[in-house]
């Protein structure tokens, strides 16, 4: 299972309802208005789309979008599909 960064950014823009062109790695999650509920919604979509289960509780504290993207890409690309 693999995901590219542009694919992941598309998904974040869609699930957190943010204009895609506002997403840049340096922006903080707070600046982008990404709430914990948005993060859960993203994780659900990742599970349904890529079959990977990521618990919110397993996510380290992250400040920027870049940190979140790196974490999610690593987890998705290393985790075998659930089914």
């Amino acid at each position: 299972m693999s995901v590219t960064e542009p694919e992941l950014l598309d998904l974040i823009a869609q699930e957190a309802i943010i204009d895609r062109d506002k997403l840049n790695r340096e922006a903080t999650l707070g600046d982008l208005g990404i709430s914990s509920l948005d993060v859960i919604t993203m994780l659900f979509e990742l599970e349904e789309r890529y079959g990977v289960v990521i618990e919110e509780a397993d996510m380290p504290k992250m400040e920027t979008l870049g940190e979140m993207v790196d974490f999610l890409m690593t987890r998705i690309n290393e985790q075998p599909a659930k089914s």
Binding site: I17, G33, F44, E47
Partner: protein, 411 residues
């Protein structure tokens, strides 16, 4: 009228397959345009084969105005039924000139009716649970599903701190909501009531259930017509602003009509079949409350689902209630245009009846193939018919034998 305070309608809002807004809705029904079309209902990877059924679904763009005022995230944070309620409430409060008014703070109630609540959210959640076998449910699932999610959303948006609750009585939900809201004003618990209902249950799982009870039409909805074979599911919301008449007059508000009173009965008979006694009793009570039997003409806004049994029963109940009086009774049944909004139907049809009386024009029942000898009613067919009625009777007869009839007068 039974209460001490008279109740004015000072605002109206509607969204359905006929459009977003009362003006679009009225234009469509007046011109005989239908929102019913074939739609594919696909239960997804874990569902059965998709099926195509007639339904009256709201166009995707209905949220745009809502998102413009509340931000784009509103569409993700609420179930579709609550979005319909908010859309209609915005329009109704705008029209009443009450957005931001101090009366919303403490002297306003909200009562909205919904048959089922967040069905779309429930089905998506259960797809994860039963289909994907995921043990994790979305934390927003419960607040999106709960039947009071709509009234809470409206209260939070407009800062309403008075009595706020939802009513649920299947197809009569918004009729009960209107009666309750009026009662809160009449008993002095509120000066303004935001009332109505909304529904969004045209979902694959729900539609399968409606098929199972053989309630759905094969092709379309044709109330009181020969050859009718069932209802067509609709979706949407409708909201009215009820207000103490004296208060409305003193602030110079436009009054669109007056709520005169209602009848409410329970058949205590059958979970899906209607009873003549129960429905006729509700109509009689409303006729008394609104002094309808002494009028020359009363506009009948029929429940008119288009199912063989319901329309025949409603026709007989009207005959029984109006027996021995010479009241002209032009009958409209607009579920043939906007489908059955279940919890939102009575409020939608009340709005259309008030618009019809103000325009002096009764919109036609669509898809009419000819009179049914078992339905002795004066159905408006073909084109909109000029009327002189200053009074209207609105019926809402729900599964489980829950009956509401309401009497209104035009301003």
């Amino acid at each position: 009228m039974s209460g001490g305070r008279r109740i004015a309608v000072t605002g109206m809002g509607a969204v359905s397959a006929l459009g977003a807004g009362v003006a679009e809705t009225w234009d469509a029904v007046r011109q005989g345009r239908s929102g019913i079309a074939p739609h594919l209902f696909d239960g997804g990877a874990h569902g059965p084969e998709p099926v195509t059924l007639p339904a009256a679904l709201a166009a995707d763009g209905f949220q745009s105005a809502l998102e413009a005022r509340m931000g784009r995230k509103v569409s993700a944070s609420l179930d579709r039924f609550a979005l319909f309620a908010l859309c209609a409430a915005f329009e109704a409060l705008d029209q009443a000139g009450l957005v931001g008014d101090a009366v919303l703070g403490e002297r306003t109630a909200i009562v909205l009716g919904h048959g089922q609540g967040g069905q779309e959210t429930l089905e998506k959640g259960y797809e994860r649970f039963f289909g994907l076998k995921s043990p994790r449910m979305h934390p927003a699932m419960v607040p999106k599903v709960m039947v009071s999610g709509g009234v809470s959303a409206v209260a939070m948006q407009f800062g309403v701190h008075g009595p706020v609750f939802a009513t649920s009585s299947a197809c009569a939900s918004s009729a009960h909501a209107i009666v309750q809201g009026a009662g809160l004003i009449q008993t002095g618990l509120a000066d303004v009531a935001i009332v109505g209902g909304a529904e969004a249950i045209a979902t694959p799982g729900s539609m399968s259930g409606w098929q199972a009870i053989h309630a759905l039409a094969e092709t379309t909805c044709r109330p009181f017509s020969q050859g009718r074979d069932g209802m067509v599911m609709g979706e949407g919301g409708a909201v009215l602003i009820l207000e103490d008449l004296e208060r409305a007059k003193s602030r110079g508000a436009t009054v669109f009509g007056e709520y005169l009173g209602a009848g409410m009965t329970s058949d205590a008979f059958h979970i899906t079949q209607p009873s003549l006694e129960g429905t006729a009793a509700a109509i009689r009570q409303a006729c008394t409350a609104g002094d309808l039997l002494s009028q020359e003409e009363v506009l009948i806004a029929a429940h008119g689902t288009g199912t063989p049994l319901n329309d025949e029963n409603e026709s007989a109940a009207l005959d029984a209630a109006f027996a021995g009086v010479a009241v002209r009774r032009p009958l409209i049944a607009t579920k043939s245009a906007h489908g059955h909004l279940i919890g939102g139907s009575a409020a939608m049809q009340t709005i259309i009846a008030l618009k019809a009386m103000r325009a002096g024009l009764a919109p036609p029942v669509l898809n009419f193939l000819g009179p049914d000898p078992n339905c002795d009613v004066d159905v408006v067919v073909g084109e909109a018919r000029p009327i002189t009625a200053r009074h209207a009777l609105l019926n809402a007869f729900a599964f489980g034998g829950l009956n509401v009839s309401m009497a209104f007068a035009t301003a």
